[in-house]
């Protein structure tokens, strides 16, 4: 079985973001980067499946971007991916989600991947479109925002998160693609011995120009911080009401009360 997990490297969200010179994206100077959180769930799930299936299964991790994304790739390799593809692209932030999906699809099309994992969305752009549009361009079955995963005999059983804390269960025949949500699993820490082993794993370099890329459909025209406003939500009412409101918020917005 062949598995692919697609990851993105994003800035630490606690960074202070400043617009770049063109005012259409953030300035990368002085930012610290790490693996997109949702992609960590994707990697963990893919590695768990890889471990469950054992010999004969190959798990590839793919990332598009400048040289710095190799750090995220190496982390994924240290978590247990078998090999990696680095699509070298220094201008990836200027591409729209459909174009990025077209690059992944161009790479994956003739590789025979049975299952592709991606994060639900990236923490920086947050379009939540790349995963689903890769599936669209490759003609794969797809489900999104999964918080539970099982695979047996060519069928994926995924628990999905719907609005308001409701869950749904979806079954898909492979080849398929799933996008992963917080709560799916607890990503492992790369251990030192596995960081060492990752150094020996193969990273294939592909200049982005070698992969056919779709036309740009959407252009970011402005990047700016929001106007300042008062912080936080102020809840009002008696204690009983307040508790209900807090519980509702915790259920809706966090993993604390699942």
């Amino acid at each position: 079985m062949k598995l692919l997990v697609c990851i993105k490297q994003v800035p630490d969200l606690e960074s202070r973001f400043k617009p770049d010179a063109a005012g259409v994206w953030y300035n990368e100077t002085d930012l610290a980067f790490r693996m997109n959180e949702y992609d960590e769930y994707a990697v963990e799930q893919a590695v768990q499946l890889r471990e469950k299936l054992g010999e004969g299964t190959e798990l590839t991790v793919l990332s598009i971007g400048p040289d710095r994304v190799v750090e995220a790739i190496k982390k994924a390799l240290a978590m247990g991916c078998d090999n990696a593809v680095h699509v070298q692209d220094t201008a990836v932030s200027a591409k729209d989600p459909w174009q990025i999906a077209s690059i992944i699809a161009a790479y994956a099309r003739d590789k025979g991947f049975d299952l592709i994992f991606t994060g639900m969305q990236s923490q920086d752009r947050g379009s939540a479109q790349v995963g689903v549009t890769v599936a669209e361009q490759l003609g794969l079955a797809c489900t999104t925002t999964i918080v539970g995963f099982d695979y047996a005999d060519g069928t994926v059983t995924a628990k999905r998160e719907l609005e308001g804390g409701i869950k749904g269960v979806v079954k898909l025949k492979t080849p398929a693609l799933v996008t992963c949500q917080l709560g799916l699993n607890v990503p492992r820490y790369p251990t030192l011995p596995n960081i060492m082993k990752a150094k020996r794993k193969e990273i294939t370099l592909i200049p982005v120009a070698e992969l056919p890329t779709a036309e740009l459909l959407a252009t970011t025209t402005s990047f700016h911080p929001p106007a300042k406003k008062g912080g936080g939500i102020v809840l009002e009412g008696d204690v009983g009401e307040l508790v209900d409101k807090v519980i509702a918020i915790l259920k809706d917005k966090t993993a604390v009360l699942r």
């Binding site: 750090e71 982390k75 240290a78 251990t191 030192l192 011995p193 960081i195 060492m196 150094k199």
Partner: protein, 379 residues
């Protein structure tokens, strides 16, 4: 010259940082209060490979380098100086000399359990009357058939309380001074080993500092580490490497305190503005950060020299001395920036201040480091 960490080192740094943030930082205060690092944490650090970072994979280590080790100790110490020194003493002072001076059979026998943290290592050099002056070792050994028989006492033994594996220095003939000393690998669970006490300390309270008595401790001859009579060389080489570990620990403690002081200075308001707006605080922050960065460069450089198999005696002495003095200075200023709150346990900088002091003392006092540096300058 390139002062950037490699991508591999950055991956490692970020992995260690994530682990420390979730697994150590939340319990650092408890470790200090209860004078104990939970066994579960020691096990997890073993699983992470923190206890065998630079030892080769064939002996169960992670196979990384000295710089990786320095980064691990630094990152762990940012949250908990006790856990930092556990790693440092274990790796540099026990696994290190067994790897450097051990026979193939000794390495195969002892290193795998040490590298995974199944047993915790320590270094038994210091005695009530022999610290900086290792030649004054009063613990003696005699040979009886296929065994050495060791008698005497050791004190201030970091990690001793785990009763794991130790590298022990003892003298055949005290009149020979350092020429009479040999090194042995000992299993501290053997008969004849008694813990006199685990010391109650000012800082690094989660770390064991143990006093031992040895009464006819029998060690098989195959546990002699290096040549007989060459134990002093084993000790000096071990301490050289160990200094990089202590420098990393001190660096981490300083960075941990600095992070808190910087954040607090931006939150705390007095006279209608954040105290970070006052030049008095700004200058403190500038001085603290400069000392930290200097310590980091010295420490990483010493680690890189060791990795390159170049002489690093001077550099390890300098980084240990400078980083430890930075740690006491930065933690003290961090308390000052916190004002009265800094004196309160909950704000954690007072613990860092207490943890920092020992780094000026152990693995060669800073006075000894100055002797080492000046001797090399003048030789």
């Amino acid at each position: 010259m390139n002062f950037e960490l490699s991508q591999d080192h950055k991956v490692l740094q970020s992995a260690v940082r994530d682990f420390v943030e979730k697994e150590i930082k939340p319990i650092a205060m408890k470790i200090d209060e209860e004078h104990m690092i939970p066994d579960a944490l020691v096990t997890k650090m073993g699983e992470m490979g923190f206890l065998g970072s630079y030892l080769p994979e064939e002996y169960g280590g992670a196979g990384l380098d000295m710089l990786s080790y320095a980064i691990v100790v630094e990152e762990v110490s940012k949250a908990c100086g006790s856990s930092g020194v556990l790693i440092s003493a274990h790796t540099s002072l026990c696994s290190g000399p067994i790897y450097t001076f051990g026979t193939e059979a000794q390495k195969k026998k002892w290193l795998p359990a040490l590298n995974t943290g199944e047993t915790i290592g320590c270094f038994l050099l210091t005695e009530p009357d022999a610290g900086s002056d290792a030649g004054g070792t009063a613990t003696t050994y005699t040979r009886e058939g296929d065994e050495f028989v060791i008698n005497g006492s050791k004190t201030f033994i970091t990690n001793g309380g785990y009763l794991g594996t130790g590298v022990l220095l003892a003298s055949y003939d005290r009149s020979l001074k350092h020429k009479g000393i040999s090194a042995f690998i000992v299993d501290l669970k053997s008969p004849g080993v008694t813990i006199l006490k685990n010391e109650n300390k000012m800082g690094i309270r989660g770390s064991y500092t143990t006093a031992f008595a040895f009464d006819n401790l029998r060690v098989p001859v195959e546990n002699l580490l290096g040549q007989e009579g060459k134990g002093f060389n084993v000790a000096m080489d071990t301490l050289n490497g160990g200094r990089i570990g202590i420098a990393s620990q001190a660096l981490g403690i300083a960075e941990g305190a600095f992070e808190r002081a910087l954040a607090y200075s931006k939150e705390r308001k007095q006279f209608g503005q954040a105290i970070s707006e006052f030049q008095a605080i700004q200058f403190k922050l500038a001085d603290m950060y400069t000392s930290i960065e200097t310590s980091k460069l010295l420490t990483y450089r010493a680690a890189c020299l060791k990795d390159a198999k170049k002489n690093y005696t001077m550099e390890s002495a300098m980084c240990k001395m400078h980083a430890s003095e930075t740690a006491t200075y930065v933690t003290k200023e961090a308390i000052q920036i916190h004002g009265g709150y800094g004196f309160i346990v909950d704000y954690e900088v007072e613990r860092m201040y207490r943890d920092a002091k020992i780094t000026e003392i152990y693995e060669g006092t800073n006075e000894v480091q100055r002797v080492v540096i000046s001797k090399l300058l003048l030789s």
